[in-house]
């Protein structure tokens, strides 16, 4: 009987000659050179790409009615560099960059005539440094992240650490994060103030738009100068304390308990989300300027027999806007060989509505807060699919540097009639 357990590659061992980018100066004159475990080396390069397509009929841009067709192509690249310091503690520097491009049909309807830009890109670099104590296994690290798209900028900084139990079978982890975001106030076209035009002799015209852009025109209509657009922005801050405890129960079972405490403040809506009142008039969604979230979850992984694994997850979520939610998922990887697995999965999700949500033309103008974004509605969703993972010791397709390949497809559907499909590819290089 074969046991199909495939031990993770221990990144702390140095059996192979590393790809060295930098070798520190060796002060030990007795050392004749050659391999140094302290050299900075590339431990792993990960590439993850996804293609996502979505359809629905409840876009918040058009007040809870209208197309939600979205296509998104996401790509992320992570580079992990490792080295040992003088105390033989393992240092890991993770450099990441992500690039997404999407087209969103509803974005066109920021302008009433559907003529707004429907495409957009997002660029998000990240960096993280972690040091692991060679004796205790405890870790400490800091990280930073930036995300930029035409109407939303986000900066993040975090500090994280973990402490192992004396027997090394348990680990307590903490991550403190702060996101400082800026929302560009792009309004639906009917709320944009018409540009003011001033004629200054002799014959020049100054046009100032609602966004603050100033264009100076000659008498013949030619552009003399054009100041950079300066749409106003609003701030959104998110502070998170993420706690986790992981415990190995026996030789087949391990669990983790996860809990986040999240506080948000600032502008928490989006300026181009319309709400249509029961009077037929429209306005922009209005949400409270603070939100408190409390998600609590647990994972349980169990090695059943010799080639089946159960990966289970449950989360209960509550927040100060009145939303309560349950998430449960089960994935069952089946190891066809020790290096090839097939993983069907199913995820169930439900949530109650936020107290500020109402559909199209249901809100009253006397309501204090209002949104018709179906993200805050009462619904259930299901997500199912299958994944394949190949990680042979000789490399995927015999290519030694490509140590693992994963492909995963999922179909998602909500009771709001939103449906989506996503296919993802992950490549891991050593």
């Amino acid at each position: 009987m074969h046991t199909f357990a495939q031990t993770r590659t221990d990144t702390g061992t140095f059996a192979k000659q590393p790809v060295s980018l930098y070798t520190p100066v060796d002060h030990d004159t007795t050392n004749t050179g050659g391999y140094s475990p302290h050299a900075l080396r590339i431990d792993e390069i990960d590439l993850v790409s996804s293609y996502y397509i979505q359809n629905g009929d409840h876009s918040p841009v058009t007040g809870g009615i209208g197309t939600q067709h979205v296509i998104d192509f996401s790509n992320g690249l992570n580079l992990n560099l490792v080295w040992l310091n003088q105390a033989n503690n393992k240092n890991t520097l993770m450099l990441g960059v992500g690039y997404d491009h999407h087209t969103s049909a509803s974005a066109g309807y920021v302008a009433l005539n559907g003529g707004s830009k429907t495409g957009g890109t997002r660029l998000y670099p990240s960096i993280d440094w972690t040091v692991e104590n060679s004796k205790t296994g405890n870790t400490f690290g800091i990280g930073a992240y930036y995300s930029g798209e035409y109407n939303y900028k986000s900066k993040e900084a975090d500090v994280h650490w973990s402490v192992k139990t004396d027997d090394k079978n348990g680990e307590f982890g903490v991550k403190l994060q702060a996101y400082l975001d800026k929302v560009t106030m792009i309004l639906p076209s009917e709320f944009v103030v018409a540009p003011s035009v001033t004629t200054i002799p002799p014959g020049t015209t100054v046009v100032t738009t609602a966004s603050g852009q100033t264009v100076v025109l000659s008498s013949g209509g030619q552009v003399i100068s054009n100041s950079k657009s300066s749409l106003p922005t609003s701030e959104r801050n998110t502070f998170t304390a993420a706690l986790s405890y992981t415990q190995q129960i026996n030789s087949r079972l391990q669990i983790s308990i996860l809990g986040d405490v999240v506080g948000q403040n600032g502008y928490l809506g989006l300026p181009f989300h319309r709400v249509y009142f029961n009077t037929g008039k429209d306005t922009i969604e209005k949400l409270p300027s603070s939100r408190f979230k409390l998600p609590i979850g647990a994972r349980m992984n169990y090695f059943l027999g010799d080639n089946i694994i159960l990966r289970a997850y449950y989360r209960y979520y509550m927040d100060s806007w009145g939303i309560r939610s349950n998430t449960a998922s089960l994935e069952i990887p089946y190891k066809v060989t020790p290096f090839f697995s097939i993983s069907p999965f199913y995820r169930y999700y439900d949530q109650t509505a936020a107290r500020y949500f109402a559909p199209y033309e249901v809100h009253s103008p006397t309501d204090e807060f209002y949104t018709s974004n179906y993200e805050y509605s009462n619904f259930r969703s299901g997500f199912y699919g299958i994944g394949f993972r190949v990680a042979p010791p000789t490399g995927v397709f015999g290519w030694q540097n490509l140590h693992d390949l994963e492909i995963r497809y999922g179909h998602y559907s909500q009771t709001t009639d939103l449906v989506s499909d996503v296919v993802s590819l992950s490549l891991g290089f050593k």
């Binding site: 026996n250 998600p295 492909i407």
Partner: protein
Amino acid sequence: MIKQKVKIAAGLLLLIATSSCVHLKEYQKSRLNDSEMALTNRKVEKNELNFQSYEEAASGANAGKTGGGCGCN
């Protein structure tokens, strides 16, 4: 009612699991160290989690991100 039962069952399972911990030597951890047994999200799931956080109100407690990025579609 069903939800309550599920929560109680999950709690009991957790209690049973944690009360029967055994001290494991390194050589007893070959199954636990299997790459499929990692108590984290898969790398290939990263973008799925982003889409879910944009279309659903709940997020967090899954070692994913809890802020940043508009998801304005």
